[in-house]
């Protein structure tokens, strides 16, 4: 062995190359400023390295308890912890880390190239390494400054090639590959980089067996051994996660987070990762869409574009320059293979990829495919090295100095192509502040972290504002939420990858943003999450709720610590529940966790309350619990919010957005008929996918319109008729989809489709009308078309019509008979007034549809009920309150109030008619109705609130402005819409106006103007038991617990003879097991409590609560260490005993 090392060191060319690579690696220090960290985007580093090793526990207490997926960061975390142990600061450690990652990438590429006999000597390994170190591929990864798979994959391939060829030790190569895979783990739970490495190795294996004619038995032995060792050595990684590969685990997360519908637009790389860009090693969506400040020249500068295309030209010329080389053939094959994978849903054959990802959840890791071009990048590096060597040799034959000239030209090309890597500007992307040089994390964070650690308390702090997984601070940071590695104390910051508490936490942040009242109701929910402190992070640039936080948390807590712009408030004892507690009151409800605040704002809440979902506990068990309330929320088919959004979307229609796909073939021709057949096949394939059917039908309908426009005058009457029929069929498809129950069930999709459909109908109609003057022959079609569009518009009108919002039906199911109290809740203050004055009344509806008023306490038997909520007819506009700035403006006509506008709406004047809306209330939905006739010009109205005027600029942004289409003759047309007043508005005015037409103003008539409030109205039926505090009785249970680590707790319950429900405020998972050491076989009923937490029904005693998966981790570690140990021992035995 020593001889071998000496022989290697003795070769000067080898050493010089290595030194050169180490030297070039120093480029990472260019542009780096002292004392600054390079964090941002998706680049995170362990901010408290040694303490961060705790993150390897499979359960993390933050965000209400989440599955820890940090095992993949093993290499990085250990690296940082090691240097912290040595006393090095974060900045210095990160510099070393970046340098090593970049330089080792070059060295490993060097190793890979030298693994092939026909490229072992000469320039090839060095040029390949330098290309790899300065590859534009790296530039595409925005905000990721170190990508370990990039570093280690060439090493893995080199080891595999040598191991298979037998040029390195069988044992040594396998062991080194196993260790090198640690670098790929950072990609976990995604596995695209595993796939790149494994498929590259598999490709080489095939090549080795089929082309190089390697020994089959030797290859099988090697690969089998490698596979077994990989499986055993990584048992610590996959064993603990096996249990999570279920609906609630990693795959579940992937499936829910990465929903695939019919649209290729959901694939991030669609239209970016195309072959034309992939062959020059570009194609990442972020890079191609200008996310990087340095990407623009690559997309626009002719010189850089030419240089970037010189790379594939040189690379593939290797097939001619070294045509007999089998390694060139292999890497060319690898290049085209990985380019094909990386293009994903883009042409050609993108549909194959789409179907694969859409149909198989396990393939969803490949929704973003660009990064698979890493395999092609490795192949390009090899081929470029070979070409550089061949060209240099060829030119050197003519003149020796040409060797250096050629080398210099290729090197210059490589360096220019990766220029931002040299200058250090690849740290900058457009979301960073201008001239970003790295960041300095304010000391306040570290001081607060130390303070929180020093409390040694077992509770969480709640961060305001919500991070949403990304932070943007006023000290220049923009990137992923760094609280995870900065704070060792548990916290909640609203990260979207939160566990089962995601919904509850999301709802909580939403209420705080909406300034929900009463504030106590919000604090009751924070208590369910084991929150003791509130951290207000005023460094957050998106923070717009400073006063809101004061409303909530200073009123009910005290300032504990202030560090820089960070403020820590500790909450009053009344609003804090420990990690384990026995609730004094249980509320059984059907309310979703996001809306628990609705439950906590009802009367009857006690400080130690727990909320249990009604469906999760059987009816018999319901009677078992003492001190319990039942809260049943009634549901309504109508959502005002959706209605409001629908009206808002429909008022912002832009026909310019409609695309008319060009068609080259005249209807009736063979090619056109072939196209129609293909369309029919396409549509029949989409029958099970309504979204796809809608999009495609609309696309083909627009195509028909284009065809009529292009060939219309030359088309025969039959062809025209066929085109119109086909158009009609396509549009009917769209209507059928919109009316289908599955689309109706999805409110957002319905709105989206309705808007698209309405826009398309208007645009198609306009296009046909404006095409060309209809000749006599075409008149019949004009009639047909007009009728068709009239029908479509009527159907759209029906779909858009507002349902009756003043007589709303609610349904509910009462789980058991008893006395129930009806509660009606609404965010709007106006609601309370109307309810008190009897303007809003609730009725129970029986089977004969008879109404019986409900008030106070009523007895109901178990079963299904229908409740009708009727709002009395109100009008907040008065015919007598209109104010004008010119006259005559209106007159009474046949007893109806009819407005006649003869003045224009001018921006420099007050609108012609306005009035203040009576009883205007914030956060309230209103329905506006009126009839109008405007044969001469457009009519409009606006609602302007007091808060719509910017006090600094005096600019007015009305809450609502609408222009309405002209009407035929004097016929009145009905119009109605729904809108919602702003949160802080106090008063508002309605303005009616008209527009000038060629300097003349026609009469515009309004009548029956009516503005009525309408309410979302939450309806609850509550059954309350008289409350007796368990804690005050003699047999009140006492609870004490000890936290061993985040996956293990000891619990003791004393003082009660009856079983108690224990709430454990960590995310619910079936891997949380409660055990009684004295009764190892005992099984405890495990429930979901508080919408996210675990609870067990237990008798007093001593218990242990453990996360089952953590013991799997320990088992996995034991298996992995044992197998590696045995492998090393057998290697030693072979070397020492058998002397092989």
């Amino acid at each position: 062995m020593i001889k071998k090392i000496k022989a290697v060191i003795g070769r000067k060319d080898y050493l010089a190359d290595l030194l050169l690579i180490l030297f070039f690696g120093l480029h990472v220090f260019i542009g780096q400023k002292s004392g600054l960290l390079y964090i941002g985007g998706d680049t995170g580093i362990p901010m408290t390295p040694i303490k961060n090793l705790d993150l390897f526990n499979l359960w993390q207490n933050h965000e209400g308890g989440v599955l820890g997926l940090n095992l993949g960061n093993l290499l990085q975390f250990i690296f940082f912890a090691f240097f912290e142990y040595l006393g090095l600061g974060l900045v210095a450690t990160q510099r070393i880390y970046i340098y090593l990652a970049h330089t080792l990438a070059g060295l490993f590429m060097y190793y890979l190239v030298r693994s092939f006999s026909d490229s072992r000597k000469g320039l090839a390994p060095l040029i390949a390494s330098l290309f790899y170190m300065f590859s534009p591929w790296l530039l595409n990864y925005l905000g990721i400054f170190v990508f370990l798979p990039y570093t280690v994959i060439p090493l893995i391939l080199g080891l595999f090639v040598r191991g298979l060829n037998g040029t390195v030790s069988f044992y040594g190569s396998i062991l080194a590959i196993v260790v090198s895979f640690l670098g790929i783990l950072i990609n976990f739970p995604q596995y695209s980089m595993f796939f790149v490495a494994a498929s590259f190795m598999f490709l080489y294996l095939l090549f080795y067996l089929l082309i190089l004619r390697g020994s089959v038995s030797q290859s099988i032995k090697y690969c089998l051994c490698l596979a077994v060792m990989m499986a055993l050595s990584y048992a610590w990684l996959y064993l603990p996660y096996m249990t999570f590969f279920t609906g609630s685990g990693v795959m579940g997360e992937l499936e829910t987070k990465v929903k695939i519908s019919s649209s290729v637009f959901e694939f991030g790389d669609f239209n970016y990762s195309t072959i034309v860009h992939l062959i020059r090693m570009f194609g990442a969506a972020g890079f191609m869409s200008g996310g990087a400040t340095y990407s623009q020249p690559y997309l626009t500068s002719p010189i850089l574009i030419l240089i970037s295309y010189a790379v594939p030209l040189l690379v593939f010329s290797a097939l001619i320059l070294k045509k007999k080389s089998k390694s060139v053939l292999f890497f060319s094959l690898a290049a085209i293979f990985f380019i094909f994978l990386a293009k994903g849903v883009n042409a050609p054959f993108g549909r194959l990829h789409f179907e694969l990802v859409a149909r198989f959840p396990i393939a969803r890791a490949f929704r973003t495919t660009w990064n698979l071009s890493l395999g092609a990048n490795i192949a390009f590096a090899f081929l470029l090295g070979v070409v550089a060597e061949e060209l240099s040799k060829k030119f050197a034959k003519k003149k020796v100095s040409y060797f250096w000239t050629t080398t210099t030209v290729i090197l210059t090309l490589i360096l220019i192509n990766g220029w931002p890597l040299i200058t250090g500007s690849y740290f900058q992307f457009k979301w960073n502040p201008p001239s970003f040089d790295g960041v300095k994390v304010p000391e306040a964070y570290f001081n607060l972290r130390d303070f929180l650690s020093s409390t040694h308390e077992d509770n969480r702090f709640f961060r305001l504002p919500q991070s949403g997984g990304m932070l943007k601070t006023n000290w220049g940071y923009f990137g992923s939420d760094f609280y995870v590695t900065l704070f060792s104390s548990p916290f909640i910051s609203g990260h979207p990858w939160g566990g089962s508490a995601n919904e509850l936490i999301g709802g909580l942040y939403q209420r705080i943003t909406d300034n929900y009242q009463p504030a106590e109701a919000v604090l009751r929910i924070t208590s369910l999450l084991n929150i003791k402190r509130i951290l207000v992070d005023n460094y957050d640039e998106r923070w717009g709720l400073k006063t809101g936080a004061d409303n909530y948390f200073t009123k009910f807590g005290t300032l504990e610590k202030k560090e820089g712009d960070l403020r820590l408030n500790v909450l009053d004892e009344n609003y804090y529940l420990p990690h384990f507690y026995i609730p004094e009151k249980l509320i059984f409800t059907n309310v979703k966790p996001a809306d628990f605040v609705q439950v906590s704002s009802l009367p009857g809440w006690e400080p130690k309350t727990a909320i249990i979902n009604l469906d999760l506990i059987g009816e018999k068990k319901l009677d078992y619990f003492q001190n319990r309330d039942i809260v049943v929320k009634a549901s309504s088919d109508i959502s005002l919010e959706k209605e409001f959004l629908k009206q808002k979307s429909l008022s912002n229609i832009d026909v310019k957005g409609i695309y008319f796909p060009p068609s080259r073939w005249k209807p009736g021709t063979f090619a056109h008929n072939l196209g129609l057949k293909r369309e029919a096949i396409d549509l029949s394939l989409s029958k099970r996918n309504p979204e796809g059917l809608f999009e495609k039908s609309l696309f083909f309908a627009s195509k028909r319109i284009f065809e009529i426009g292009k060939f219309g005058e030359a088309m025969t009457a039959d062809r025209w008729g066929q085109a119109i029929n086909n158009y009609q069929e396509m549009m009917r498809n769209c209507f059928a989809v919109v009316k289908s129950p599955e689309i109706k069930a999805n409110g957002d999709l319905t709105i989206n489709f309705l808007v698209k459909l309405q826009t398309a109908i208007i645009a198609h109609n306009q296009k046909l009308e404006g095409l060309f003057p209809y000749s006599r022959r075409d008149l019949q079609f004009k009639v047909v078309e007009s009728q068709m569009f009239a029908e479509f518009e009527k159907e759209i009108e029906e779909l858009n019509s507002i349902p009756n919002l003043f007589e709303r039906d609610y349904t509910l199911k009462l789980p058991q008979s008893g006395s129930y109290q009806l509660y009606l809740k609404e965010d709007s203050p106006l609601f309370e007034n109307l309810l008190a004055s009897g303007k809003i009344k609730a009725y129970a509806v029986n089977k004969a549809q008879e109404l019986a008023p409900i008030a106070g306490m009523n007895w109901f038997s178990e079963g299904d009920y229908k409740i009708k909520l009727i709002t009395n007819s109100l009008n907040f506009l008065s015919d007598k309150n209109w104010q004008y700035d010119a006259d005559p403006l209106y007159e009474e006509d046949r007893g109806e109030m009819v407005f006649h506008f003869r003045q224009p709406f001018a921006t420099d004047k007050l609108p012609v008619a306005y009035q203040e809306i009576a009883n205007f209330s914030p956060q309230t939905y209103y329905q506006l109705d009126f009839d109008y006739s405007a044969k001469g010009g457009r009519v409009g109205f606006a609602i302007i609130q007091d808060v719509d005027t910017n006090p600094k600029t005096n600019q007015v942004t009305p809450l609502l402005v609408r222009f309405l289409p002209k009407t035929d003759d004097d016929k009145f047309v009905h119009f109605s819409t729904v809108f919602k007043s702003s949160r802080d508005s106090r008063e508002a005015k309605i303005y009616l106006f008209t527009e000038a037409r060629e300097g003349k103003f026609d009469t515009i008539n309004f009548r029956g103007l009516r503005l009525q409030p309408t309410f979302e109205s939450l309806v609850f039926m509550v059954q309350q038991e008289p409350f007796s505090r368990i804690g005050e009785s003699a047999n009140a249970p006492e609870i004490s617990f000890q936290k061993i680590n985040s996956t293990k707790y000891k619990l003791q319950i004393k003082g009660s003879e009856k079983p108690a429900l224990i709430i454990f405020s960590e995310g619910f998972h079936n891997q949380w097991k409660m055990s009684d050491p004295k009764r190892p076989k005992a099984i405890f009923d495990h429930y979901l409590a508080n919408g996210y937490a675990n609870s067990w029904l237990v008798y007093p005693g001593e218990f242990s609560i453990e996360l089952g998966s953590q013991s799997k981790l320990y088992q996995g570690i034991a298996i992995s260490l044992a197998s590696i140990g045995i492998f090393i021992l057998s290697w030693l035995a072979k070397v020492v005993i058998f002397k092989k």
């Binding site: 089929l210 082309i211 195309t274 295309y309 030209l313 001619i320 094959l333 060009p662 068609s663 293909r678």
Partner: protein, 115 residues
């Protein structure tokens, strides 16, 4: 089969012409990249390559020529044509590699048999 091979050989130049024309039309005449067109044209191209016994170097050269056109199309904002040219460059290089692999495979197979 023999008839088909004879037919191919007899009309080899015609097939070459058809595939060349087809590719040009696909790039400049048809709307966005169409998988069906590509599949048919690639089939015709393969037949033309076999019938005319075109060497793989020629295919590589064709591919390199198409790649060389790409930057100009990108510079002149003809991205759609650029994309289609790149797709054909990719198909040519793929065919070249496949052809070379087949030859090397056959050769190594023969060598192994003779041993």
């Amino acid at each position: 089969m023999k008839k088909f091979i004879n037919f191919m050989k007899k009309h080899r130049l015609l097939m070459l012409f058809i595939s060349a024309l087809g590719i040009i039309l696909d790039i400049f005449a048809f709307a966005p990249v169409n998988d069906f067109n590509i599949l048919i044209l690639t089939g015709v191209l393969v037949l033309a390559i076999v019938a005319n016994e075109i060497e793989y170097q020629a295919l590589v050269l064709a591919s390199l020529s198409l790649i060389a056109v790409c930057p100009f199309l990108i510079i002149f904002k003809a991205d759609l044509f650029g994309q289609k040219v790149a797709v054909w460059a990719y198909i040519f290089i793929t065919l070249a590699i496949c052809q070379r692999l087949l030859r090397v495979f056959k050769k190594s197979w023969r060598e192994k048999k003779s041993i």
